[in-house]
């Protein structure tokens, strides 16, 4: 580890410091560093450790054997998959649309990119809750738009305050991005806030982009409510979703964008000349995920809750504070009691403890004391990670 002349100072290597202010690059730099550590416990990336369900793989294998995977899919996606997504949104999210209101994308990430490209002109402002997954920033910048951050607070459970939204609107505001459950905070926008924000969006003629990629994982007392299901909102809301998080299918790269049919038609045309159709075999896998047995969702929810409880107990022991996660599979925790910035602590935990955790600055510049911990290891590994974290912090306190 690079040394410092100041006792107790943690000096991260230059290649890490060089990307400290770029959230996306910082996360990848830490992952690359972790890849060289044989016994690392990875609590960084949001890549579920669970297996893709067997019935999904079987369906994909069948599509391959039957030659279906050799038939190019239409740019909008397989008709049966678009219908399955529409059925799911109607059934689970109370969003009434048909298959022509669905575009299949190469993962939720591609949906973000395409929607920003389709909506933002240079100079358009888009309101984004902070902290945030910084890939939104990249997509907005690539489209020529301007990110306007909406602060959220741990004391509110990282809910989105409608007054904060209202105060941030300017004549250049084009859209509002809602991410619920949220990455990195695991907060869920309350039903009351959502309804008030919906009224603001209609009054101010705002478009709402609702990223619901984690919507299968909402924990009591929170309840999932889709913006597009609220009165008057379907015509001005784009709903993003996918299979990656819900069905542990990050490697298959299938997501969707849902909205009014005319908007989806235009988006499909744009996709056809840019990134092209999604791989057919992945679409058959996604079809099986959406139409097959859904007990895998409840099972994984139970697993993530168990891990969440273990992690919360460990953070309590370390004196780290947090807002109890109400969704997704992360814990966003304030680690200021360690005496280190989150960037330094993240590096120290990796180098000495062999535990990969992302600093909050990977999700926004002001989150200097925060860590995002993913719950994507089995509970025994989480317990081991906590032991290592406690040992590193104890040694650090002794050194001081």
């Amino acid at each position: 580890m690079p040394t410092s002349s100041i006792p107790g100072e943690v000096v991260a290597p230059s290649e890490l410091q060089a990307v400290a202010n770029d959230g996306t690059r910082l996360r990848y730099a830490l992952m690359e560093m972790a890849a060289s550590i044989p016994d690392v416990i990875a609590l960084g990336r949001g890549d579920p450790d669970l297996d893709t369900p067997e019935h999904v793989i079987a369906a994909a294998a069948n599509a391959v054997e039957q030659g279906l995977a050799d038939e190019p899919a239409p740019p909008a996606g397989l008709p049966e998959l678009r219908q399955a997504v529409a059925d799911k949104l109607r059934r689970d999210n109370n969003i009434g649309l048909e298959a022509d209101g669905v575009l299949i994308t190469g993962g939720g990430q591609e949906g973000i990119f395409l929607v920003m490209q389709a909506l933002l002109e240079p100079g358009d402002e888009i309101l984004v809750p902070d902290p945030r997954y910084t890939s939104y920033d990249q997509a907005i910048e690539q489209a020529g738009g301007t990110t306007v951050l909406l602060p959220t607070r741990p004391e509110d459970g990282f809910d989105l305050d409608p007054e904060v939204v209202s105060n941030a609107i300017t004549p250049r505001t084009k859209a509002l991005l809602i991410v619920s459950p949220n990455n990195p905070t695991s907060g869920v926008v309350s039903s009351d806030s959502l309804r008030r924000i919906a009224r603001i969006a209609q009054e101010k003629n705002l478009i709402v982009i609702s990223d619901e990629i984690y919507e299968r994982y909402v924990y009591p007392p929170a309840e999932q409510l889709s913006m597009a299901s609220l009165p008057g909102m379907a015509e001005r809301t784009v709903t993003l979703g996918g299979c990656s998080k819900a069905y542990a299918m990050t490697g298959w790269r299938v997501g969707w964008v849902a909205g009014p049919a005319d908007f989806i038609h235009a988006l499909t045309g744009y996709k056809a000349v840019t990134t092209g159709p999604v791989s057919a075999v992945s679409q058959y896998a996604a079809l099986a995920a959406l139409t097959g047995p859904q007990d895998v969702i409840e099972e994984s929810r139970r697993i993530y809750l168990d891990r969440r409880d273990s992690m919360m107990a460990g953070l309590d022991r370390m004196g780290f504070t947090y807002a109890p996660p109400l969704g997704a599979f992360f814990i966003y925790t304030n680690a200021s009691s360690s005496g280190l910035s989150a960037f330094e602590l993240s590096y120290l935990l990796l180098k000495e403890g062999h535990v990969l955790i992302f600093p909050g600055t990977a999700f926004g510049e002001r989150w200097q004391d925060w860590l995002r911990i993913s719950l994507l290891q089995p509970t025994p590994q989480i317990e081991e990670a906590l032991r290592r974290m406690e040992a590193v912090i104890a040694r650090r306190r002794n050194d001081l």
Partner: protein
């Protein structure tokens, strides 16, 4: 019917598609082999496709691309100089978008897709000619539709004007010995050229949406960063499909393809590919 507020809100680059019909996909030209299918199914059943892959693509496939290009006279680093893409369309789009910033696009050969993408990027596009001022340009060439004499003229022009080059080598898939030397294998072209292409000459992999781009690290990283921002990585099953296809159809064992005469341009100090 009155457009939705969302349709009304569309940016200009997407709004034109409101009135455009969406093209239907082409029929597949061939089927994948039983052996390839079995290999992909095995990868899926072993849960090798469940998670994000390395950003550039699975290592064996990147290595294969690097090895084949090396045999064709183009040296690229397998780790930092090769990226597996989700289809040829995606490869072309990310390459053009990432490398055209502050540059005008000059095209040579059959690259009709460039007009669509150029419109989206609000980039000026010109047809190449030997008298064109190439300073600050991005040259996009479809190598397979150019004559040997055009290659010579273009390479000479590049020497004088120092453009960045995207060489669309899609007519010369990696599963065959090589119809012609890659443009990047020409003298002084390697450091300025990003090559892109497909794995499969028969069209059987078209629906799987897998392609590649490769070149010097400095160019590849720019394009890779954009590709990653859009899709994180390419679908794992498609990558294993491409790998299985190359394993079944190693380009140095296939009989040479008939048709095109070999070019008279020699690759710089490298073993000549089997060109016919």
């Amino acid at each position: 019917m009155k457009p939705s507020p969302l349709a009304d809100a569309l940016a200009q680059r997407a709004a034109k598609w409101l009135a455009h019909p969406i093209p239907a996909p082409d029929r597949p030209l061939a089927e994948t082999s039983e052996g390839m299918r079995n290999e992909v199914i095995e990868a899926m059943e072993q849960h090798q496709c469940d998670h994000y892959t390395r950003r550039p693509g699975i290592a064996p496939l990147c290595n294969a691309v690097s090895e084949i290009l090396s045999r064709r006279g183009v040296t690229v680093d397998a780790d930092s100089g090769v990226v597996i893409c989700g289809g040829l369309g995606e490869a072309r789009y990310v390459a053009l978008t990432a490398l055209s910033e502050n540059r005008k696009i000059v095209i040579a050969g059959h690259v009709d897709y460039a007009q669509d993408i150029g419109e989206l990027l609000d980039c000026e596009i010109q047809e190449w000619n030997v008298d064109l001022d190439g300073n600050g340009t991005l040259l996009l060439i479809h190598t397979g539709s150019l004559s040997p004499n055009q290659w010579i003229d273009i390479a000479s022009w590049c020497d004088q004007h120092d453009p960045i080059v995207i060489a669309d080598e899609s007519d010369d898939a990696l599963d065959q010995p090589g119809i012609h030397p890659p443009f990047a294998s020409q003298n002084e072209m390697a450091e300025r050229t990003l090559s892109l292409g497909r794995f499969d000459s028969s069209g059987a992999l078209d629906a799987w949406q897998v392609a590649w781009f490769a070149g010097p690290t400095s160019l590849v990283q720019q394009v890779r960063d954009l590709k990653q921002a859009i899709t994180i990585c390419s679908p794992a099953p498609a990558q294993y499909a491409a790998l299985a296809h190359l394993n079944e159809n190693p380009s140095d064992r296939r009989p040479p393809s008939k048709g095109k005469a070999s070019l008279t341009i020699d690759p710089p100090s490298k073993e000549k590919p089997d060109a016919h």
